[in-house]
Symmetry: C2
Subunit: 477 residues, 2 copies
Amino acid sequence: MFYNFQMKNLVNILLAYINKSLKRSSKVLDFHYPHQLKEGLEGFSLELPDQPDNLEQLLVDCRDTLKYGVKTGHPRFFNQLSTGLDIIGLAGEWLTSTANTNMFTYEISPVFILMEEVVLRKMHSIIGWPEEDGDGIFCPGGTMSNLYSVLLARFHLFPVVKTHGMSAIPRLALFTSAHVHNLIIFTQINTTFWFLSVRGKMISSELNSSIETAKSKGLVPFYVNATAGTTVYGAFDPLNEIADICKHHGLWMHVDAAWGGGLLLSNKHRVKLQGIERAHSVTWNPHKMMGVPLQCSTILVKKKGLLQECNQLCAEYLFQPDKHYDVSYDTGDKSIQCGRHVDVFKLWLMWKAKGSEGFEAQINHCLENAEYLYYKLKRRSDFQLVFKGKPEHSNVCFWYLPKRLQSILPSPERDRELHMVAPKIKTKMMEEGFTMIGYQPLEDKVNFFRCVFSNPATQREDVDFLIDEIVRLGCEL
Amino acid sequence: MFYNFQMKNLVNILLAYINKSLKRSSKVLDFHYPHQLKEGLEGFSLELPDQPDNLEQLLVDCRDTLKYGVKTGHPRFFNQLSTGLDIIGLAGEWLTSTANTNMFTYEISPVFILMEEVVLRKMHSIIGWPEEDGDGIFCPGGTMSNLYSVLLARFHLFPVVKTHGMSAIPRLALFTSAHVHNLIIFTQINTTFWFLSVRGKMISSELNSSIETAKSKGLVPFYVNATAGTTVYGAFDPLNEIADICKHHGLWMHVDAAWGGGLLLSNKHRVKLQGIERAHSVTWNPHKMMGVPLQCSTILVKKKGLLQECNQLCAEYLFQPDKHYDVSYDTGDKSIQCGRHVDVFKLWLMWKAKGSEGFEAQINHCLENAEYLYYKLKRRSDFQLVFKGKPEHSNVCFWYLPKRLQSILPSPERDRELHMVAPKIKTKMMEEGFTMIGYQPLEDKVNFFRCVFSNPATQREDVDFLIDEIVRLGCEL
């Protein structure tokens, strides 16, 4: 069949790309500025035609799309929390897109719906919730997961909000640390924020007094977001202390473990999330620390049935109650979405392929890489760690000091200079394309590099390479 | 390489599945009840192991996952708005998952970011917005697109909501028709609904008086959602009339064209969306009428810059302003998500492969199928159309009357009997597996079938088959 032939050609292009992505001798990226790509490089035109292009041209376009992209699976790509290219996860995603269905009902997704149940139950048990508890749903990313948790908490406290809206309930107060990730949407649906942290960690005594302050101002505290693994520092909030406070004040405790959740699979590292079993809801993104291809994110809820109560519309035109199978398997009423992409299968398949033990080994390996980098940098005078202590997660934050800054004592002038070092190195790094790492300022700290490890293909030699590359590109700055 | 070999085996399984999906002689599904699948059929176990399974077993699992699923690409699958299996779209999705990146920044998605810009600009011009206007973003499904539109409208009217929350602004009123799709989340973030429709269409004179009523009650009307293609009837609201009213009252006009947007590509059918160019925002899901694999949904906004103003957090730890390229290409601040899946590439590739003319032909074909079914049913006494007029979209709604009901005059008793016909036929239909069509009650109408056409592989013989199959399964009921 004609199409089979074309698809096999495409598969050869994709497999060649995968092999290249995994090779250290390949570049991570071949950088071009937006205007260069827009002008069309060697016949690669982005414009959309009225008449069809021929299929040979499409294959060339596919090759070019990959060529000018960034190899996020490369062992020397350290730029984001989601890295790596798990071949089994990829196989899962290819199957998912071939099945091309929707997590709407058991009717059209019987196998995936059951897999979702199995995987969520496994995640509940790993969190440590009793077997009779636990509900949840896969949704498109951590922001959505966190949004679910706020909707649930609000509905749990004030069910009237569902029928009568925000004007029927008092002004609520939500509490979270300053280093919070993925909370963007909250700014628009809630009323109050309280920021309290040191080194990216929530200070529980301050949380308590802030709750009292909010009450004294006539606000109704209802929700605390504890973070397990912040984006930049990889910090973990003290979950047990926060759980005590939530219990005392009767507040909903949510744990955003989008980034840190993976550590629950490690016997060595799960201690950092102690107390998570006391949360009412948890965000956990397997597409981060577990290396599952994007998108794969969950909201896990302790209390059964609440998701459905909160979100269902009883729209019979969508979900017919008179079907011949047990319609409790139709997940559409739990979801705020109508169409919902199948995100579970790749994770299910990876779990089959690795076993829980495989995930544990892979996560331990990533944290070992972080520790290796930490100890290397600690010994050097041309690098300065942002924090003295060993990293809790796989985030390592540091400044590089070019020769001329090494001898200057810390001062506002030195900081101004230092602030420009990381962007300059990053520019050269992207133009040369051998590795990629992110940088950012945070609070009073000028631009520093943040290295994160979530790709199990990364080895110590890649960490060494990163350091050498930063020095090579930056020493004369 | 070992993995290449495994991936090629998987590809063979997937290609065999695709070929089977397209064959009329294959079943659409091999139905099993949840308990059957959970107990494990012929060694297909859903449970997750601690130790790895072997790779041969994984391939068997992949084959079984497809075997027990539903072939949504089959020409006789009429169950959902999203059907079909476009092979080029699929190729696009395989490449996307191989690239495994995030629409966060130009830095990590240079090509996809530019493709998004090109495709959105094309969609703006098809809507009919002036070239200097137009902004937008791909997001995970129509509910999210509609959510964006409400956030934008609210922010546009009351920018203070971003920093001071809902309690700082008056009680708002939102207007929409009763047959609205994907509006679930709105119930939780807004205050008031007004439902007005006949045959699924908003009545504009009633809209006007409802706005006056809302004002007299002290509410602030701010947003009208017009639907272009309702879920069940495929009805189109009168967009120009609604635009006049919105203009008169100074309201934000949103058009939910999730389902109907595809018709804009047809010179014959785009007249049904006349006035859409006057909207402030539009939801348009290419994963519905354009046959793009799930998920592929857009929110299109007339006013440039508003998305960013509304949603940006100026989080330097996420988006560094001191990068070496033009950071206006970083889309992260437009989005309420942090991670954002690449949904544009498959659409871009399909557009290259078909051209705009190819989409037009495919959409016209789907509407021709609907008309063919409509005229066939109109001539028969054992079927009854829910509405007399020709369908506007590809939705055809009808009852089947088994022999014993054909001779009974309409009455509450007959309705009670008729209500049970569609579920009974659907049960048999799924157990036998040769075709699939959905049913639902709506308002005062008892369970009726809704046939929708969005799969270009569907031909008249498949429509004939559907009718015969309903008669075969239902005539003795």
